[in-house]
Amino acid sequence: MHVILYQLRKFFNMVRTEVLVLPSRIVVAVFFLVLLLLPLLTSDPYLLRILILTSIFAIFAASWDLLSGFTGQMNFGHALFFGVGAYGAAILNKSLGIPPIGSIPLGALAAVLAGLVIGIPCLRLRGTYLALTTLAFPIILMGLVFAFPSFTGGELGISGLDRIVRSRAANYYIIVSTMLVLVTVIWKITDSNVGIIFHAIREDEVAVRAAGINTTRYKLLAFCLSGFFAGIAGGLYAHFMRIAGPSTLEVSMSFQVVIWSVFGGIVSIWGPVGAVFILFPLLEFFRLWPELRMLLFAIVIMLILLYMPQGLLPWIRDRIENECPRCKIRNVATRTNCRVCDAEMH
């Protein structure tokens, strides 16, 4: 009993001193809570459907940020991983009868293989060369999909996959909690030693190599990790929509993930995730004017970037929080003294 009380007290203390002091952390906590509690308040299937798709694309965007944001390997063909994950899961489910719980991770492993296959030729390229070359891979795969319709379903794709579970709410909980877990894992990876090496490769690859780190291995690791998470997103998408079609490999899919991530602010993981949760429902909202939908979307993006070229979320964060000039710890913008070292905040 005492132990439980002690742990509870410790938890509340932690919340009070670490979470409630910073608005960005409060927002993240509220975000988690709202997502997990929402089905208790509403069971509107349309709303749940949008949130499920948003969660799937949030994993996808975060995985792009891990590879292209943190490691700096600009990938314009990220749809490849999504498509391989989706098609892998679909083929395993349809022809071998593997249930979703097995087919999604196996599909993601196929995406890891795809990451290795495109990672190896791309290791020698950098910057713009890399970005333009990676654009080619999903298109090559799409050509193959069309060329072998007996195996891949051609233009129509593979349809009639198993549902993950029957009810909409259960689907919602499975996918949203997978999203929350995976995004946290990605964020933890970027925070670990490996993540620091990724970040260093982005800043200056030559210096990292000079420090005795095998950058080739780490870049391949980044490709594989990113491929794995994007593949899971693809598998979830295929099983939720119950179809894996060539639209998962389209150029617009690759561009979409770049738009989401840059809009939300790269090199942060929470930026792309937040951006998907803003932009995807926004695109649904624009369905009120169906012809103008994509145009409005494009204009919103151009205008916001014009004023916040760093991305929307980092811009907002810099408005509500300041960094202490002495100890580099973040504080609410309203404080006059740092909450840790008590230094004057300008």
Binding site: T128, I139, I301
Partner: protein, 289 residues
């Protein structure tokens, strides 16, 4: 068959060469990866359609109008949307993607998604070695070659061309030597968008015009630029005809070729890059830090 392959590859190759040279000019001088490049090519193609069908002008006038409209539109959007955020590479990138999407949607709203056709500049054909060759093909091909020769002369012989090449090599030093870097960038954007517009105008009579016509050339253009080596005009030229030829060959000789043409051309690009990471004629740059 063989004649078809040759004609097709020459026409496609010319398109890709013009687009790729414009794209690598912008990239070299202004360091902008301009995804919207082929969107302006689409705009010019629509201008001819409007000029010749809606306004009843001669196609040549429409062609000229298309080039002017595409260039002006490009310069205005560059000034408003791209120039203020040029320091932020990622933002510029999705700025141009969003721009391309916006242009596509505008065309979709104004002209709907129908496939439209455009009258050819000159009608008729002649027979050579038993093969029908349309005058339009000939005109397109010759004008493309002419433009490329003029462009090369401009870049190597004039002072402005020299300034453009200098800025592409090293922006800061060019600036220190008294070249107005932002003005050079503006002029380059104008030139390369005029090239894109001209390509659209020249190719429109040979294909159908639709709001999605920019996607395939965009991918091929990027493949050409990478294969030839970024910033190398000669490289873009050779690579464009190489990929154009590969595409035509696949379309005519392989079953299901129309689906595989992009795949094969792009696979060639990747195979070459495995051997020469800097492209066919590219120079391995010292890494910018």
């Amino acid at each position: 068959m063989i004649a078809d392959i040759i004609i097709n590859s020459l026409i496609n190759g010319s398109t890709y060469a013009m687009l790729a040279i414009g794209f690598s000019l912008i990239f070299g001088v202004a360091r902008i990866v301009n995804i919207a490049h082929t969107a302006f090519y689409m705009v010019a193609a629509y201008c001819i359609y409007v000029g010749s069908y809606k306004l009843g002008l001669h196609p040549a006038v429409g062609m000229l109008g298309g080039v002017v409209v595409a260039t002006l539109l490009g310069l205005i959007t560059y000034k408003i949307f791209i120039d203020p955020i040029r320091e932020h590479e990622a933002a510029v990138l999705i700025g141009t993607i969003a721009l391309a999407m916006a242009l596509q949607e505008v065309m979709l709203i104004v002209f709907t998604g129908d496939y439209l056709s455009v009258p050819s500049l000159v009608s008729g054909y002649f027979t050579m070695l038993g093969v029908k060759i349309f005058y339009q093909h000939l005109v397109t091909f010759i004008t493309v070659l002419l433009i490329l020769v003029v462009l090369r002369a401009f870049l190597t012989k004039t002072r402005l061309g020299l300034a453009i090449r200098c800025t592409a090599q090293d922006r800061e030093v060019a600036n220190l030597m008294g070249m107005n870097e932002s003005q050079v960038a503006l002029i380059t954007v104008g030139i390369s968008l005029a090239l894109a517009g001209f390509t659209g105008a020249a190719i429109a009579p040979l294909t159908t015009v639709s709001p999605f016509m920019w996607l395939h050339p965009l991918i091929m253009m990027m493949a050409v630029v990478v294969l030839g080596g970024l910033g190398s005009i000669k490289g873009s030229f050779v690579a464009a005809y190489l990929l154009g030829f590969a595409e035509a060959l696949v379309v005519f000789l392989v079953p299901m070729g129309a689906f595989l043409k992009g795949s094969v051309a792009l696979s060639i690009m990747i195979l070459v890059l495995l051997i020469r990471p800097e492209g066919l004629f590219g120079v391995a740059f010292e890494e910018e830090r």
